[in-house]
């Protein structure tokens, strides 16, 4: 699960791990966050199943890549297995560049590029949905709802996870965000 610092990627990752536990399975979750405050790259590995030994996934073995930002989707795509799935928001958060130094252009059509590589790419308008719901910060959970469509976890375990992870005053927002994400996934597969 990848994103830019501040997008709530790690909160989404924790929620997934909690949903796994609620479903009675084992989970191991690891994260890299130290240098990511406000603008750096954030990545978390989640592995779950009947038995989980290592928390880290090797390159070429990721089943699904969750990416809340366009460049981060590209950055971690090489972790995917052949034909793996990407659930991403196409939002671009441009890294701070050093003024006066030749700038690296920000990549354009990442989704198409990844589809050409044979990955199944689902683009979710997560930040737009979050703004419609009234809070940009729940974009991570909208994307999580879309991710849930690809995972074998029952809806109840997701609801348990959301309740455990979010305090009362923002629980309703996040339940709605999650539901919206699920709706996007349903529309994408039937549309």
């Amino acid at each position: 699960m990848a994103g830019v610092g501040g997008q709530g990627t790690l909160v989404a990752s924790e929620t997934l791990a909690l949903a796994v536990l609620a479903a009675g399975l084992k989970a191991k979750q690891s994260e890299v966050h130290g240098v990511a405050q406000r603008g750096g790259s954030v990545v978390s590995h989640v592995r779950f199943g009947e038995h989980v030994y290592s928390p880290l996934i090797r390159c070429g073995e990721v089943d699904v890549l969750y990416a809340s930002e366009r460049l981060e989707a590209l950055r971690y795509a090489h972790y995917l297995k052949s034909g793996g799935a990407v659930v991403m928001d196409n939002r671009a958060i441009k890294p701070i560049q050093m003024p006066g130094v030749a700038e690296t252009p920000y990549p354009d059509d990442v989704a198409a590029f990844l589809r050409d590589k044979g990955y199944e790419v689902r683009v979710v308008p997560a930040i737009d949905a979050a703004l419609e719901l009234g809070d940009k910060r729940c974009a991570n959970v909208v994307l999580l709802g879309a991710l849930a469509d690809l995972l074998p976890l029952p809806e109840e375990s997701w609801q348990v996870a959301l309740k455990r992870r979010f305090p009362e005053k923002i629980l309703d927002l996040n339940i709605r965000a999650f539901a919206q994400g699920r709706r996007f996934a349903a529309e994408a597969t039937t549309g």
Binding site: H33, G34, Q37, I93, I96, P99, G100, K136
Partner: protein
Amino acid sequence: MGASVGNAIGFEKGNIGHTGSKAVGVIGDSTFLHGGIQGLIDMVYTNSSATLLIADNSTTGMTGQQENPSTGKTVSGEPAPSVDLVKLVKSIGVKFVREVDPYDMKRFRKTLRDAIKHPGPSVVIGKHACLMIREERRKHADRVPIHFEAEDCNLCKQCYELGCPATDWSDETGPIIDELQCVGCEMCAELCKPGALYGPVAAE
């Protein structure tokens, strides 16, 4: 987390008789207390002409905004004694010590230039609470993203060179403000001579 202080001394000593350029080390309030004090003692002891900039934002930003011994709170938010950084630095023996609000950009830049010019060790403490910590966000809850009037922009790039994460640049139209990231601090507006960038007060 402490390395920058020693590095600054090393660069300064290594440059003697070569480029003659000045050395500046940058460190946060938290990491200075964590591992920067030893290096600063060495800076005074070896009479290094390096400058240390302590970015005091009253938090440990990198790892998620935890409290530290300079913030006046424990990790769980209870009141705690706080280290007086100015007194600490002076007691180590640094003669040139200044504490300035970095949001007062003119004064801050001048202080930094004076510190760099100073022949012995110098410390500038840039003190302003991080805009992302809860109390600051509450205080500034009414702030809105900055306005940009493209036709007034002279493409001087001063706003972009501020290094704000919310500001991107187009050579044709000037700054591109990401409204989702802009916290409305108006520092770019302050730098904008033609007034193309402005906050709500100026807009009125």
